[in-house]
Symmetry: C2
Subunit: 319 residues, 2 copies
């Protein structure tokens, strides 16, 4: 028996056949085209059925297809409410993919799928209550309570990057000001790095960026800071303080067993999480000996999309 995981992105749609142990066995990719969504899902279904045929796997051996999709997803109705990346609105993704493949389908927001992936096959296997923050262009998130993805009544939950960090602060794409993601996303770190470089022509960050502001990325400040560059260290400290403040919010709300960080910046590993833990120890709510949440980094990496999506089906086994 196998799971199928489908990772829908703005550029490509990746399908993987996944073992019950969470290993990706076979994959296939199609382009995300600017066509009507129904036709797009027909093409996806054809791709899935072709992959199964090629590998000699019968439909009956598939426990289900899990789909991670960017945007506002209602897992219960199986609809994509709205996805700005894909320009899909009120689209019955689940029912169509079931119709075209004849296989049971479950859909979720991609950050939610990544979260349940880390709980079932990744770093958070031993935990029940987990918050995942995916640090990328924005800050996405997922909430796991008692080993189940929290999906709310109407879906569209866990927009964890869209809580206020600074009332009246930087404008956010969501219509508010001062959202967490405006300070703690990779985009924000890059902006903070560039600002510091423009003020300081001697920082080593210029070397790492090959003297080109356009080459600054989420690693620039971390690389220079690790070499002892003072300006870069200040950028990292400030960035970590923003990230930690948001993490602390989630500690105070959920007191989870663990907070899992995903996305490119999580690759900084202990260098990052040790700083966060130190910040939390100094600012945590409470009292001597109050319960602490572990700060972990995601382990599924580039496979998080497919394995997370497959986990939406694996999670069903617990029901």
């Amino acid at each position: 028996m196998y799971y199928i995981g489908v990772d829908i992105g703005g550029m490509s749609i990746k399908t993987g056949i996944v073992s019950l142990e969470g290993e990706i066995l076979y994959t296939s990719v199609i382009e995300t085209e600017k066509i009507n969504p129904k036709l797009q899902i027909k093409k996806l279904a054809d791709d899935i059925l072709k992959l199964l045929a090629e590998k000699g796997i019968k439909k009956e051996e598939i426990l289900g297809i899990g789909v991670g999709c960017p945007g506002a997803i209602n897992s219960k109705s199986g609809k994509v409410h709205y996805s700005s990346n894909l320009k899909w609105t009120d689209f019955p993704l689940r029912d169509l993919l079931e119709e075209y493949t004849g296989i049971k389908v479950r859909i979720a927001n991609d950050a939610d799928a990544a979260t349940i992936g880390e709980i079932i096959f990744g770093v958070a296997k031993e935990y029940s209550n987990v918050i995942m923050l995916t640090i990328g262009t924005g800050v996405g998130g997922g909430i796991v309570i008692d080993k189940k993805l929290y999906l709310g009544t109407n879906g569209v939950v866990a927009e964890l990057g869209h809580i206020t960090l600074r009332n009246g602060g930087l404008e956010c794409g969501c219509g508010r000001r001062g959202c967490f993601e405006q300070y703690a996303s990779a985009t924000a770190l890059i902006r903070q790095t560039k600002e510091a470089m423009q003020k300081n022509k001697n920082t080593k960050m210029w070397e790492y960026a090959e003297n080109d502001l356009d080459k600054v990325d989420g690693k620039t400040a971390f690389l220079a800071a690790k070499c002892g560059d003072k300006c870069a260290k200040r950028v990292v400290e400030k960035y970590v303080s923003y990230l930690s403040e948001g993490i602390l919010d989630y500690c105070n709300i959920f007191r989870p067993d663990a907070i899992v960080l995903g996305g490119g910046i999580s690759k900084e590993g202990r260098y990052l999480t040790d700083k966060i833990v130190k910040y939390l120890d100094n600012h945590d709510y409470g009292y001597p000996g109050s319960p602490r949440s572990e700060i972990l980094t995601a382990t599924l990496g580039n496979n998080a999309g497919i394995i997370g999506a497959a986990s939406l089906i694996a999670e069903g086994d617990f029901e």
Copy 2:
């Protein structure tokens, strides 16, 4: 059959015998004394047993004793981790009260108890996913998911007043700066009211406060605003914007069916919630037609303590 609800406060400990329909039938009160907690719980047990004897109710007719207690409570271990109000630390409240009464006991933080009270016997009866914010001296909270109180793994959850509203802002008792409760509690509203009065000697708020800053309370600005006083209106609008920003955070995190407001300020009713709904409509995350959370005010009022505590036992019926 009956429930017993016990509401432990800094000044008094109230006990109520509650019907299965959530009506308080009989009550008793003892003083909260500055004695050792074990002796305090012995006195509470004596008070409970005396009340039962007086009313001719047998222990076997009691489904359980629910206890709401201020502070950091672990409902699973039955211990009060830490209560700054009561000066109790790592205290096995549940086990002692069970020992002294011979009746099953369940304990929770008082704001958590009030939350489950509103879900079982109050305004949120028809909902599954609910966030409650109790606006008083501070801002307390409770999280209900699928009709169950969220208690986390180690308790001490839902410190919903302690999320950042303004990074680096006003100092908070919890050790952070800029917490939601520093801007949205009744204490904060009173501070904001006084500041506006000191700058404006002509505002009607002086009348409502009998020309005495010490008589300003959480109603002063609301009363004057309703009479058209412009300065008071500005105080209310600003306060509502702070409160709404925090509420919006919880909408974006949980997208709950409803957010229930408790505490004195919730008595402003629709005058308050209409303003909040308007603020949310203008600032909500998302996209046209995204699911909205209802904004409700608590209905249990002064009985919230006892009924909420009793609901901790009633909730058990769903298990």
